[in-house]
Symmetry: C2
Amino acid sequence: MEYLSVSAAQRCVLESVAAMGIETIRLEQSLGRVLAEDVRANRDLPPYDVSAMDGFAVRSADLAGGSVELEVVEDIKAGDMPTKTVQAGQCARIMTGAPVPQGADAVVRVEDSETLSDGRVRFARPAPSGMDIRLRGEGMRNGDVVLAAGTEITPGVVGVLATVKCAQLTVYRRPRVAILSTGNELEGIDEPVDPNKIPDANSYALLAQVQALGITPVLLGIARDDPVELERYLRQGLEYDVLLVSGGTSVGVHDYVRPTVEALGVQMKFWRVAMKPGHPLAFGVLERPDGTKARVFGLPGNPVSSMVCFEEFVLLALRSIMGHARLHRRTVSARLAHPVKMRPGRTEFVRVVLSRDGEGYIATSTGNQSSGALLSMAKADGLLIAPSDSNGLAAGEIVSVQFLDGAAFQDQIGFRE
Amino acid sequence: MEYLSVSAAQRCVLESVAAMGIETIRLEQSLGRVLAEDVRANRDLPPYDVSAMDGFAVRSADLAGGSVELEVVEDIKAGDMPTKTVQAGQCARIMTGAPVPQGADAVVRVEDSETLSDGRVRFARPAPSGMDIRLRGEGMRNGDVVLAAGTEITPGVVGVLATVKCAQLTVYRRPRVAILSTGNELEGIDEPVDPNKIPDANSYALLAQVQALGITPVLLGIARDDPVELERYLRQGLEYDVLLVSGGTSVGVHDYVRPTVEALGVQMKFWRVAMKPGHPLAFGVLERPDGTKARVFGLPGNPVSSMVCFEEFVLLALRSIMGHARLHRRTVSARLAHPVKMRPGRTEFVRVVLSRDGEGYIATSTGNQSSGALLSMAKADGLLIAPSDSNGLAAGEIVSVQFLDGAAFQDQIGFRE
């Protein structure tokens, strides 16, 4: 089998996943989920014509001639209903959001008025009809679809859902995810330090990457290089929607995990992708008798490689299952601070730190790009994506950098006021 | 009191907050938190010189003359310890991550070797000493600080923490946050629809904004415009580290909430900021007899204004209390798709959608920028920050756009492979 390009491998993964069922949840628990049905307005908003300002509701005809003094017939606060009709020569004091009374057709802000000693109010300038009035239904109309199925639930969407009184809502369900590490050389986190072993970092880095997507995965533990034990773990993992197996470097997904998952009915889709880091990466699908599927990712044993493969492939699958339309982590353009040596033939993901100057982002390598350098992944703000046809990148070149989770904040305000 | 600039108001908020105590948590629960103490390596990694490739461990002196055939004395997998010393004329088959045996000082990858029918292996080229060997301690050295206090816990950091076997760790604690809405016109989410009322969107939009920072806030509910009821709610809210009060538009923080919180001992720091949307915005601090503090934000009753004030002020306070160094949401440069009208004298936050072309990001207004247009906040990817000295922005102008939460993903791969 030839090496697949990164985007061909991504397409292959996405062909095997789709939103996967729905559930009803409380609004308070909905952040980050995706609406599985259209949401409609259940009333007009504003429910009546309201003032957009603190000021006075007036008849524009009264002000047409310029300076005029009007009698105040009522004070209207938000939540009050007006009790009087504004007649010629009259006005009503009104607060932002309060209903505009009958008779009035404009609002003059308080700064443009002068209250006289006898209680009347003087206005110096005309006010066109409709001024500073928000019309009934301007925000939303009863029955209109205000949020379409497929909308990602951000804080702004939560605000809209509360506005239409969606205390409960229907969303796509989250995938159930299991994580398995393999290899005799691995030492579990609660085991004593053995200088001849390697700590199992993958289970926890992958756990956090899955958590960052709003999903709570299950850690299956460490399978040793024993066919019976491995099969028992894999059988358990294949009961989930998505199984992430990171291979012990001693065996790799090619040698050991792959025949075992194939024997359990998994159809392998690919096991070679032209990327660095990222070797070996395998992907397969188990179609169960009931029509449901398990997807298996065989990730590199090396933690940096495993994390990069997660960002470029697993993340897309998990977000697709959750119903998201936007699957990829954001990219930004950045100037490269220094040259980067490369070999053509594979897409390279270089861990970089992002800084800013007046011209935009600057990308600087975290240093050692050995796939053993997990500390570089801890320092990185993003992955510089170097094209597979490149022989190297020059200092000052504009490159694409994909944010890593945790890179969403910056230390400077970053704008001119 | 004069209007403060956005950055002066941000500095004022930050002067009153700081990391606020520590707690010990499990690694599995640590994503998004901030380390409160340095973390040190508890062993050398790799623990011994290991092979960086699948191949053969050789004596470089044997290959110095070019073509040579060597006897294979051992197979070494990751997790195995070598049992033999490689003598002149010998080599050992070795897997990535496995210990380099005594005697060998270089690794030749399997692709650069030829296994002969008699089991010996032929090498065609010299291998300099040290080739494809990762030295003991190259990744981290026992006792070295690998993560400094103040490090934000990303998935990469979780991987490093697992590597040094930090099953438990000490982090800054999260602030306790209470949210209160005020106003007679507000209708609670579980109350029946009353066409004369306005649904309480603020409580839920703020809830989601706080949740997006990894904090679970408490909703206190809706306080009516009654001094006794309001005082009771505010007293309760001031028991938290941070209290968010969104004002009913009928009263506003100036008229009603402010005297009540001042009577309860809160010292107001500012109540006017030169920004749009965002009026009225107030901030105060209660110093308790035991030296602890409550911070009170009086947010606009309008949901869009309230959400923008959260992003620019409350978010900084909450992240500061959690120990973060990077407090601001990321900004990117974007080209403006169309002109934007503005009045100088205040910083404007325009809700925009971000798209991409070959040149970078393009910012397009969500349309109606009325602060009543909550749907615009649901659609927006970010806030275009228009400088306060600007008379308007032209199409094609390069502007700063601050991501809103939920804008971290995109629908296209966004890079050339």
